[in-house]
């Protein structure tokens, strides 16, 4: 489990159709119920993957993205 709450929320959305439905219907409510702070909710609301990655990296420096090139 990541030390980043943003990463945990993303992982929940990846796993759960019900969580994705709740997020689609009222993203702010779904994120509040998960326990995300105002700042964390604002970052996710941008839908900007670079901003989300950067925030995850700040919350959990070990959750580094792998430059997973598998060709060449």
């Amino acid at each position: 489990m990541s030390k980043s709450r943003i990463a945990e929320y993303m992982a929940l959305l990846a796993r759960s159709e019900r969580a994705r439905k709740a997020h689609r219907e009222d993203a702010d409510k779904a994120m509040r119920e998960f326990g995300l702070t105002d700042e964390q909710r604002a970052i996710i609301a941008t839908k900007d993957p670079e901003a989300i990655k950067e925030a995850v990296r700040k919350e959990d420096p070990d959750a580094v993205q792998t430059l997973a090139i598998v060709f060449g």
Partner: protein, 254 residues
Amino acid sequence: VLTVVGTGIRAGVQLTPEAREAIEQADDVRFLVAEAVAESLIVSLNPRARSLDRHYRRGVARRVAYEAMTAEILGLVRGGKDVCAAFYGHPGIFCTPAHESVRRARAEGFETTMLPGISAEDCLFADLGLDPGVTGCQSYEASAFLERRPPVDVAALLLLWQVSVLGRDDYVPEPDPSGLPALADALLAIYPAEHEALLYEASPYPIGGPVVRPVRLSELGDASLPPLATLVVPPSRPSSERTAAAATSFPFAS
């Protein structure tokens, strides 16, 4: 038995039902994904799943890592297990250990299947609103493009993959932009300096859009690279009236 699957790019939402089943039902799973969210999803589907990313060593040729990944997968297959190897995107596209595992397992008489996944190229066409059928599409690994200098049809779309590791065959943990000026020079010999391309990276998350950075070819040498960026070069001239609109616009890029 070996089943090689793709997980798609956006964690969870692009995993096909047949790939999910293969991961869940396998005796053992080995995987390589680019993001921790996708990793946690795969482990939640099968607790025996283990990442192959530990085979990368900074500064060591990537083919050494591919060989170690392939050897690990084959070792499990030879042990009589029902093995699933999962790679992000599509396992048959830009994925040496996936193809090599299938080739070797088949040569040794094991039952093997490769299941398609949603590739970065699939995401690119959807996110940017491009249809490769309209102008035609040329697609190259960026280092190979620079080395071979194939003839380019400027009336067709050009996609250059892996620009963040241009000229590097070793593992680097961060994008290396040092090869970009050479690529810019090569493209400026073909296209006008003011021609605008896009640096594109699909989102790895279940929500949100892609990273899209417009860049003039004259400024490509100094561009900032998303880690898994693809360079998208639109046609610089239409090949016919039918393709004129597609040649000059990126409908969803702005």
